[in-house]
Structures are given as structure tokens and as C-alpha cells.
């Protein structure tokens, strides 16, 4: 009996674990759409490394925020405040630097403080007061947007030497034509994905997150620190939102109270497309990475097409969401049947 148990532990068998199906589905659909793009618009430069890296550059802020969102969704929650908090970060940096003349990096530190505090407060509201996550974070969203508008209703440009330097900083990839590069936002995105993956897969905290998402009551009966973990997850998500706001500020070099409206939907749908189950307990950072790429390849395709208008991207995203939730339903019900 012990022998088959050991053979099951080979790398291939471990990779074939059904719990990764959703991630594979995301990767396959991404490759499929990318191949279609390559076949249709290969001559226009769709296959170049530059186009591929642009997917990262243009969507790094969504991805950074999706790291925290993935963790929140794995615990079975949701956070609607991410876009507003990111926008607030942009306002803090822009107003603090341009109007008040504070160093932008001090503004960023201050934003991190506020973002994490707001996240922890929402987490506490959800966990201790039993307010539904949807409503608690909706309050957080209104609050952050309101503060944004109170600070200023105009778009403020950021003009600071070191900040501009950071925004311009890039690593060129040698020997590629046309010129391809990676900037600070992309590095931040990748680092956040790695940190998130490490936290989820290799730490006790990550185990607790999965356990709570699987069944909160069981987790608490097992003696896991449910309250603390959940509140910390929302705090971590606050940090991710602020970093996403920093990335966005570097990307557009300004702050505006209405920027990133509806970004929370992009972030949530990226995580869902990446295979994170909204019922909690299932999700991987690697899947989220591909979810972000998959969601961003559609606008890229539409840009390359040139005749289709941009709103088809919205419809495309809706169809993708439908497709992936459909796949999730089938996978979940199939595995439930297997268990029976």
C-alpha cells in the first residue's frame, strides 16, 4: 500500500493535481488568445517582446492590487475599496508634493500608513462586528473617494526629480528589436506576486488563509487564529492597494480624485479569471498573474485590430468572466461528485 502512495509524489503527478485545473485553464486560454493574436496581427508586431512586456507595463497596477485581492478572496471575502484607496494614494502624493512641497517618498510612507490602517479597520469591522465584507468595504470605498474629493477635485501633476527618475527608470533587454524594456512597476508587480506566493504557499499565515477560506468554523475549532488572520489579510490588501496607487501615479505622473474608478472590478475579475474561487479556499498567485495577463491581452488585441472600438473590450471581459465562472462551476461540481 505504501508504494503507490510514494509514486504519486512525483513532480508530474503533483503538477497534475486537480486543484491546479483552474490555473491551467487560464494559461491555456491566454496562450490560445495570444496565438490568435499572433496569427492575425503577427505582421503588425503583436508577437514582439515589446508588445508582450507592454501587457505588464500597462497593467502592473491592476496586478499589484490583485495580489492582495487574491488573498482576500481566498478567505472568502471581497474588497471593493482598492480602486479608491489607490486613487487616494495618488492624491496624497500629488497634493503632498506639488501643493504642499513634501517629499513624495514621505507621502508614500504616509499613504501606506493610512491604507493599511483603513484595511485593518475594515477587516475588524468584518470580523468583529460581522458586517458583510461587501458593505464594509463599500463604506471604505465611499470614504476614500470622499477624502480624495475633499483634498482636491482637480487633476494635479506630479513634478519631482527623484519621482520622475523612478518613473523613467527602466532595464533595457539587450539585442531585441524593437526596443523592449521592463520598468519599476513591472518589477514591483513581479516582486509582489512572489511575496504573495511565498506567503500563501510557504508560511503558516498562508495555511491559515486557505483554512479559513475552506471552512471558517472548522478553522476556528482547530484553534487557528481566525480573527487575527482575517484582519491582517485586509491590512495586507490595504498595503497592496497603496502600492498599486504608487504604481499608477508613476504610470500617469499625476493624481486625480476620479482616477481608477471601477478599477476594483478589473482587479476582482483578474483574480477570478486567474482561478480564485469567490467562495473561498482556492486560488494561486500564479493564476492571478495569468489572470491579469489574460484580461489585458484583450484590449491589446482590440488596439491592434484598429477598427474595433474600445467598448468591445468591456464585452470581451464580460464573456471571459462568464467563461471562467462556467469552468469553475464545472470543476467544482465534478470534484464534489468525486468526493461523494
Amino acid at each position: 500500500m505504501s508504494k503507490p502512495a510514494r509514486t504519486r509524489n512525483t513532480l508530474l503527478n503533483r503538477l497534475m493535481n486537480p486543484k491546479f485545473i483552474m490555473v491551467y485553464a487560464t494559461i491555456v486560454v491566454f496562450l490560445l488568445i495570444y496565438t490568435i493574436g499572433a496569427l492575425l496581427y503577427g505582421d503588425k508586431g503583436f508577437t514582439t517582446l515589446r508588445t508582450f512586456l507592454n501587457l505588464f507595463i500597462d497593467n502592473a497596477y491592476v496586478g499589484i492590487s490583485a495580489v492582495g485581492m487574491t488573498m482576500v478572496i481566498i478567505t472568502g471575502g471581497i474588497d471593493l475599496s482598492v480602486g479608491a484607496v489607490a486613487s487616494l494614494t495618488g492624491m496624497f502624493i500629488a497634493y503632498g508634493n506639488t501643493i504642499l512641497g513634501i517629499d513624495p517618498f514621505i507621502c508614500i510612507a504616509f499613504s501606506i500608513l493610512i491604507g493599511v490602517a483603513l484595511g485593518l479597520a475594515m477587516g475588524a469591522m468584518i470580523q468583529y462586528l460581522k458586517v458583510p465584507a461587501f458593505i464594509a468595504t463599500l463604506t471604505g470605498m465611499f470614504f476614500a473617494r470622499g477624502v480624495c474629493a475633499l483634498i482636491s477635485r482637480e487633476s494635479i501633476a506630479i513634478n519631482h526629480a527623484a519621482f520622475n527618475e523612478l518613473a523613467k527608470w527602466r532595464i533595457k533587454i539587450p539585442d531585441v528589436k524593437p526596443l523592449a524594456y521592463v520598468n519599476f512597476n513591472v518589477l514591483l508587480f513581479i516582486v509582489m506576486i512572489l511575496i504573495g506566493a511565498y506567503m500563501l504557499q510557504a508560511t503558516r499565515f498562508g495555511r491559515n488563509v486557505y483554512a479559513i477560506g475552506g471552512n471558517e468554523q472548522s478553522a476556528s475549532l482547530m484553534g487557528l487564529p481566525v480573527n487575527r488572520t482575517k484582519v491582517l489579510v485586509y491590512g495586507f490588501n490595504g498595503l497592496c492597494s497603496v502600492l498599486a496607487g504608487v504604481a499608477y501615479a508613476l504610470y500617469v505622473k499625476s493624481g486625480w480624485n476620479l482616477s481608477l474608478q471601477g478599477a476594483e472590478l478589473d482587479v476582482i475579475s483578474s483574480a477570478v479569471i486567474g482561478g480564485t474561487l469567490l467562495t473561498g479556499g482556492v486560488g494561486y498567485m500564479f493564476g492571478t498573474l495569468f489572470g491579469v495577463l489574460l484580461k489585458s491581452v484583450i484590449p491589446a488585441l482590440i488596439t491592434f485590430n484598429g477598427t474595433l472600438l474600445s467598448w468591445w473590450a468591456k464585452i470581451g471581459t464580460g464573456v471571459l468572466l462568464l467563461l471562467f465562472i462556467g469552468i469553475q462551476r464545472i470543476v467544482v461540481s465534478a470534484s464534489a461528485r468525486k468526493k461523494l
Binding site: L129, I315, G318, I325
Partner: protein
């Protein structure tokens, strides 16, 4: 005996959320009245046959949210959420304007005309929204999708669909029967108020005068238990989402008639949140299982009163969001289970002390 019953009644009244919603609304109105004594004045304008005044304006302007909140209330009572309503408002307006103007290149100037008769315009817009509502219902009831994510699909795609319908153009119209929907009057009141009243009445009659409301609440409390006891839970959930879509369509027609134009990007922006907020203020529970029509109407009125207050008194318009956030925070914290249990325990303790005194 008599005294005891009276006491119980006052306790029940102060415990009901409707009572607190009314108190909140009256408090805000009182502040308005103190700052500006003519706030309550209502005047009659013979030329339009309509009453004018801040209070009428609050009723008039709250109608879009109130109508949507009626549908949202039923959806929330089944333990669901409908995020797509804001986008459906945009779709309804886009379709209406498309049918009236048809093609801006062919008929470039807006005027008092329409390509399609009004009843067809209304039927098509409402029909499309009903269809989209049943799409939501299908995903939630048949495929057992989580309502938030199922309705997120149309929330994202809906504005795209609206833009496809109009080709991304913003059209305006002067078609007077269509303008009448939002600018007309009936019985001295603006049309939207009349339409809202009719919607509330229909919802009241069909849920509280039949068993349908009870069915909805029972599905919200425990879906499988109500299925086992013979309710067709799927059909009930389906119906609720269809109602929500249909009402979003009505709201969209009022909105687009108000601005006599369509606006795929901004029409209905954030309505889903306001409607959910109205339901929650009015005593609905996001976990499902109950709904309160009068409370929801009060919730919507409170939201509109805050906005009117902010505009009317020149408080920075930016403060609306912060105001809203504070009000929801207070309401949901008071409604939250641990706080309620704490309050209940206190009142139970008081009651048991009284009971003990009676036994002696």
C-alpha cells in the same frame, strides 16, 4: 394589562429600523429647516401644472434610486445582490435613444419627432432589461453562481453593450412624449414621483398581499429548506432578478428622459451601491431573509435628502461621499450582530427584572 401592552408596543416601534430611518430623515430635514426656514415652502406653477419646492424635488430626484431599490430589496431578501442595475440603466437609455433617433448621420438635428412610436421604445427598452435580468437570474438560480460575480458580468459588459447600441454616440432628442416621462406632471406632481408611487404600489400588492413576499424571504433564510418544503426556489430567484432588471429599465427611461439624451458612461453610475445602501438603511439584511418596503423607500429618501442638503446649502459637493460613508458606517454598526445582541441582552435583562418583580 393595558399599560403593559402599550409599553410593549412602544418598545416594538423603537426597535424597528423603519422608526430609526424616519427619525434620521426628520433630523436631516430639521437641520435644513433651521438653516433655511423656507426649505419646506412649496409653490404652484400654473404654466407647467406642477408643484415646486425642495421637498418635491427630493421626491422627484430620488425616484430613479427608489425604483431600483425596490428590485434590489427583493434580490437582497433572497440573499443575493444585483450589481448590474447601474449598467442596465445605461442600456435602457441607449436603446431608447437609438430607437428614437436611429442614425445621427441620417437625421442629424434633434427635434420633436421619433423614428419609433413611444410604446415600442418603452417596450423594447424594458424588454431588453427584462432579458438581461433573466440572464442574471439564470446564472444565479440554475448555475448556482455567486450573485455578486454573476451580476458582475453584466455590470462590466453592460456599458459596453450600451455603447455598441449607440455606436458610442451621445444622442439627444426633443420628442415631447418621451420628455413627458421625466418632465411632465400628473395630479400636480412630477411624473417620476407618480411612476415611483405606482412601482411601490405594485411591489407592495404583489409581495405583501400575496404569499410571494413570504416565499422570497423563505428562500433567503434557507434555500434548500424552502425547496424541500415545496417552494420552487429556482423560479422565485429567477423572478426576483427579472424584476430587478425590469425596474432598472424603468429607472433608465426616467434618467434618459430627464437628461433627454443617453450617456453610456455615466448613466446609472454607482446606482447599484446607492440602491444597496437604501435597502440596508431600510432594514434589509445582506444575509437575506427579510425586506421592508417602507424602510427601503425611506432609505432612498435619506440618501437623496443628504445630497439635496449638500447642494442646497453650498456645503462642498465633495463631502457627499464622506457623508454617505459615515451614515452607512453608523447604520451597519448599529445593525451588526454583536452590537444588536449586546443591546438585546440589556433589554432582556431589564425585562427579566420587571418580570421577577411581577412574580413577587
Amino acid at each position: 394589562m393595558m399599560r403593559k401592552r402599550m409599553k410593549l408596543d412602544t418598545e416594538r416601534i423603537t426597535k424597528s429600523k423603519l422608526f430609526w430611518a424616519i427619525v434620521a430623515e426628520l433630523l436631516i430635514l430639521l437641520v435644513c429647516l433651521i438653516i433655511r426656514p423656507d426649505f419646506f415652502s412649496i409653490s404652484y406653477q400654473p404654466s407647467s401644472g406642477m408643484l415646486y419646492g425642495s421637498l418635491i424635488d427630493i421626491l422627484n430626484r430620488s425616484s430613479e434610486i427608489t425604483i431600483i431599490a425596490m428590485g434590489m430589496m427583493l434580490v437582497i431578501a433572497t440573499a443575493g445582490t444585483d450589481l448590474s442595475v447601474g449598467s442596465l440603466v445605461a442600456v435602457s437609455g441607449a436603446l431608447a435613444l437609438r430607437l428614437m433617433r436611429w442614425d445621427l448621420d441620417l437625421y442629424p438635428t434633434p427635434g420633436d419627432w421619433s423614428i419609433t412610436p413611444l410604446y415600442l421604445v418603452i417596450a423594447a427598452s424594458l424588454g431588453a432589461c427584462l432579458l438581461m435580468g433573466s440572464f442574471n437570474g439564470l446564472l444565479v438560480s440554475r448555475w448556482n453562481m455567486q450573485p455578486i460575480i454573476a451580476t458582475l458580468i453584466l455590470m462590466v459588459a453592460g456599458r459596453g453593450i450600451a455603447q455598441v447600441i449607440t455606436g458610442g454616440k451621445q444622442m439627444t432628442t426633443m420628442f415631447s412624449p418621451f420628455k413627458f416621462i421625466a418632465h411632465g406632471s400628473f395630479l400636480y406632481l412630477p411624473m417620476p414621483v407618480i411612476i415611483t408611487a405606482a412601482v411601490i404600489l405594485v411591489i407592495y400588492l404583489s409581495t405583501r398581499r400575496t404569499a410571494f413576499g413570504l416565499f422570497i424571504e423563505s428562500v433567503g433564510v434557507n434555500r434548500s429548506a424552502s425547496r424541500v418544503s415545496g417552494l420552487n426556489a429556482r423560479r422565485i430567484i429567477m423572478t426576483v432578478y427579472m424584476i430587478s432588471g425590469f425596474l432598472a429599465g424603468i429607472s433608465g427611461l426616467i434618467y434618459s428622459s430627464r437628461i433627454i439624451s443617453n450617456d453610456s458612461n455615466n448613466a446609472g453610475q454607482g446606482y447599484e451601491m446607492d440602491a444597496i445602501l437604501a435597502v440596508v438603511i431600510g432594514g434589509g439584511n445582506m444575509a437575506g431573509g427579510k425586506f421592508n418596503i417602507a424602510g427601503t423607500v425611506m432609505g432612498s429618501l435619506i440618501i437623496r435628502t443628504i445630497i439635496t442638503f449638500v447642494y442646497y446649502f453650498g456645503v462642498a459637493a465633495e463631502a457627499i461621499m464622506v457623508f454617505k460613508a459615515m451614515i452607512i458606517a453608523v447604520v451597519i454598526i448599529l445593525q451588526s450582530e454583536p452590537i444588536r445582541r449586546m443591546l438585546e441582552k440589556r433589554s432582556r435583562m431589564r425585562r427579566s427584572i420587571q418580570g421577577g418583580a411581577l412574580h413577587e
